[in-house]
């Protein structure tokens, strides 16, 4: 390589990196690039062993691994907390899924039972089952990134999808509904 070509190299490298960064910034706007998306180590595997007590006074059964072993139809497991603002943003989507007949199982993450109850009274209850994980132990085994976080478990009891952060209408349309159809 000639000296001249070598001198051009840094400019080319800088230009290439610039194009890449621009593509990342565009992708952040359109959702094609998400630096905060974290893959779950549990994808393609069965959920970890866990057993959570029910929420007192809510009239819902608790949640354990046995409820997720081969449920026969796809179910969602949603970690939430009353103190989490994005959970409020997500809530209407959960209500809609529940109305459409998708079983949604909830886990109250590090949330006082009285607060969880008030949260469900105010915003409505989308959950068919609800476990209380006050110490956050089950969340550690699931590899929870934060709340809200949602897992899709297929008919055979295998985790197929994980969404960290609030599910919006776009999330439902672009990701979850096609997945539910595929695994139904």
């Amino acid at each position: 390589m000639s000296r001249r070509a070598l001198l051009v190299l840094p400019a080319l490298a800088a230009g290439g990196a610039g194009l890449g960064f621009f593509a990342m910034l565009r992708g952040m706007g359109t959702g094609g690039y998400d630096p905060r998306g974290v893959p779950s180590a549990l994808l393609g595997k069965a959920p970890p062993e866990f057993q959570l007590p029910p929420l007192e006074g809510a009239g819902l059964p608790g949640l354990a691994l046995s409820d997720l072993r081969a449920p026969g139809r796809p179910v969602l497991v949603n970690f939430f907390a009353s103190w989490c603002v994005p959970c409020v943003i997500e809530h209407p989507q959960l209500m809609r899924l529940s109305r459409d007949g998708v079983p949604v199982f909830g886990v109250g993450y590090k949330d006082q039972p009285a607060d969880s109850r008030r949260f469900l009274e105010r915003h409505g209850n989308p959950y068919a089952r609800l476990g209380v994980d006050l110490p956050g132990r089950a969340a550690i085994d699931w590899g929870l990134y934060g709340v809200p976080e949602t897992y899709l478990i297929d008919r055979g009891g295998i985790i197929r999808w994980r969404w960290a952060g609030p599910m919006t209408e776009d999330t439902l349309r672009a990701e979850l509904v096609p997945l539910l159809r595929r695994h139904a």
């Binding site: 000296r3 001249r4 001198l7 051009v8 840094p10 400019a11 800088a14 230009g15 990196a17 610039g18 890449g20 960064f21 621009f22 593509a23 990342m24 910034l25 992708g27 952040m28 706007g29 690039y33 630096p35 905060r36 998306g37 974290v38 893959p39």
Partner: protein, 655 residues
């Protein structure tokens, strides 16, 4: 009123920078001395205006003026005054104002101290600095105005992230920015040299102090950040290879290479193209860090709240300055021919090796930092590159670098022979080997720390050997003191900085022997670690100025005799709803006893206990390195414009 004044001052600084850039470029090009002569006063004016803007922002924080959005979002009346003031640069907008203030300071310093600079070079350097200023003032005014008003004003602010309410972190950004922005000055010199098409010894002499100052501040800034992570995050670690930490390390590596290669330009008029390239690279990497932190393209604890328009704006600036600089480099650099020739084995050859290794290290760190992002973009894969990659990839580069560090310093210029150099270092090698054996004998087959101790001792003794050799300490000890006084400060600075690096390596090696354990203790119970008994005496609640805390009282005993009382805390800040851990650290300089309070359950508390041998040496070493930089900066040859050493001495004799 005051915030509007600040806003106006920022706009004024933008206008002055525009003029500074235009006059500084057109003046030398058209040969108009009056335009050239106008650039230093313009730089002084821009400095004044920026200082007023910064002062106005600080005033708004000082009086907690919540009608300013930035204050409302980042401050609170219950905060101690010091942290009210340091909150000025705690947010994205405020830190950008600090950034431009330091840039304006550098411009003012070039204008004020650069009286001996040829006027054309000076005008062009100021023009490039003005151009950089134009971009960043426009960025602040266009996308991140810190003086935006909020109406109606909220009764009180939302508070600053409590993690940032710490003296270490309060002064970490200013030091780091002094380093980043110092790179802008070497960048300006490089671009000015490319425009002029000439790099000579004088250029090297003007660039080196700036490279030294930037490097010293970066060293301090990075060390302060790492120290803060060590005592505040409570993980007992000091470096996590986080992308943002890497972003600050990259300009440091490039700056370190630059200040070594600038010596070769100054003394031997060789490596010119390479030095110009490094100057462009160092600033490019510091802008890259700014982009990564503020655009939100990467996921890190350090990221500011992100906004795509800001990201695009910074990317445009990055491309303008770095792309522009490299394009100019591609076009003009071929014209530079080296004047001095040298044999591969010589001081110059040693410095070339240093540059190659430092740049290889920078390339590895850059690749490890950017690869996950590009893998995500191009391949759609989520990959994380962590400490195992960096540690294994950097070891084979660090070993020859450390080995050559001591040898290079004792080689003569132009042409050297290896054997006499090694002869001067035999006792350093012996010391290193003894450290290796001693560590293996005391700590068992722990090859990593043992190699680290050997490397550290080798570098420290190598620096001592270099100094004692120059002073002829052993051959002619009588006149050693006189020679010590006559030895240029830059020689002392180099040796001190190398010794500092050795001390830092010893600290790293010591941390390789660190031990820790988790203990669930009830009051009165104790745990054993590193030959000490750690007894939990009790748990209590405490009240701070704007937080409440749980505190554990731990007594550390050595064979029944109390050594020290430790009181680790968990603080919760009601405003901002956050908790921080305050690790309790007792240092004996030779080791740190370190305790962190975790969760409490049924009257028992989870305590994490660490014994960190030589941990403080990491930061002491970094401080010594920066001291070496300062010593070298204080060399009178830096301050006095000396075309040649002889002429300077003649001038002094006449005076």
């Amino acid at each position: 009123m005051i915030p509007e004044l600040g806003h106006f001052a920022l706009a004024l600084a933008l206008a002055l920078s525009c003029a500074q850039a235009a006059f500084g470029l057109v003046g030398p090009w058209r040969g108009m001395p009056r335009l050239m002569a106008a650039t230093p006063p313009l730089a002084a004016g821009a400095l004044l205006a920026t200082a007023v803007a910064f002062g106005c922002l600080m005033w708004s924080f000082g009086v907690n003026d919540t009608s300013v959005q930035n204050v409302a979002q980042n401050s609170h009346s219950a905060k101690p005054m010091l942290y009210k003031l340091t909150a000025t640069w705690g947010s994205h907008e405020g830190s950008m104002v600090l950034w431009v203030l330091i840039l304006a300071l550098c411009g003012g310093a070039v204008a004020g101290f650069g009286r001996d600079l040829p006027s054309a070079l000076k005008a062009r350097v100021l023009a490039v600095l003005g151009l950089v200023g134009v971009g960043f003032f426009a960025f602040i005014l266009g996308t991140s105005n810190p003086f935006d008003r909020l109406w109606p004003p909220p009764p009180d602010g939302q508070g600053l992230n409590p993690v940032l309410q710490d003296p270490g972190l309060a002064f970490h950004p200013p030091l780091l920015y002094l380093g980043y922005v110092g790179c802008a000055v070497t960048f300006a010199f490089a671009v000015a040299a490319l425009i002029e098409g000439r790099v000579d010894a004088a250029w090297g002499r003007w660039v080196r102090p700036w490279a030294l100052a930037a490097w010293s501040f970066l060293t301090l800034g990075i060390a302060l950040g790492s120290w803060w992570a060590y005592y505040e995050l409570g993980w007992g670690g000091y470096w996590f290879w986080d992308p943002v930490e890497n972003a600050s390390l990259l300009p440091w590596l490039a700056g370190c290479a630059l200040l070594h290669s600038a010596v070769v330009v100054e003394k031997r008029e060789a490596l010119k193209t390479w030095t110009v390239f490094l100057a462009l690279l160092a600033f490019g990497l510091s802008l890259l860090g700014t982009f990564l932190v503020r655009s939100g393209v990467l996921n890190s604890v350090h990221s500011f709240a992100s906004d795509p328009t800001r990201g695009v704006f910074i990317l445009a600036l990055l491309m303008l300055y770095v792309g522009g600089g490299f394009a100019l480099f591609a076009w003009r650099a071929a014209a530079m021919t080296p004047a001095g020739v040298f044999a591969p084995l010589s001081r110059e050859g040693g410095l070339v090796l240093n540059n190659l290794l430092l740049c290889s290290i920078a390339a590895v760190v850059l690749a490890g930092t950017l690869y996950p992002m590009f893998a995500d973009l191009l391949l759609g894969q989520k990959i994380s590159v962590g400490p195992p990659f960096f540690n294994t990839a950097l070891l084979p580069l660090a070993v020859p670098l450390i080995g050559a560090m001591a040898v290079g310093a004792v080689l003569p210029w132009k042409r050297a022979r290896l054997f006499p150099a090694l002869q001067r270092l035999w006792w350093a090698a012996l010391g290193g080997f003894a450290a290796l054996l001693l560590c293996l004998a005391l700590e068992g087959a722990r090859i990593g720390p043992a190699l680290g101790f050997a490397a550290g001792v080798w570098v420290v003794l190598g620096a001592l050997a270099d100094v004692s050799d120059r002073l002829a300490l052993f051959s002619r000890p009588r006149a050693a003191l006189a020679r010590a006084l006559a030895l240029p400060r830059s020689a002392w600075g180099g040796a001190v900085a190398h010794a500092g690096m050795g001390v830092l390596i010893l600290g790293l090696a010591g941390m390789g022997l660190a031990t820790d354990r988790l203990a669930l203790l009830k009051p009165g119970e104790s745990a054993e670690l590193a030959g000490y008994t750690w007894r939990l005496d009790g748990l209590e609640s405490a009240q701070g100025p704007n937080f409440t805390a749980r505190r554990a009282n731990v007594t550390v005993l050595d064979g029944g005799r109390p050594v020290v009382a430790l009181a680790p805390e968990k603080r919760s800040f009601p405003v901002g709803r956050a908790t921080t851990t305050e690790a309790a650290i007792h240092t004996t300089v030779l080791s740190d006893l370190y305790a962190v309070l975790g969760d409490e359950r049924d009257g028992a508390a989870v305590l994490r206990l660490h014994h960190n041998p030589l941990a403080p040496w990491i930061w002491i070493g970094a401080a010594i390195m920066a001291l070496g930089g300062a010593l070298s900066l204080s060399d009178r040859r830096v301050r006095v414009a000396a075309p040649a050493p002889k002429a300077a001495r003649g001038g002094e004799a006449r005076a």
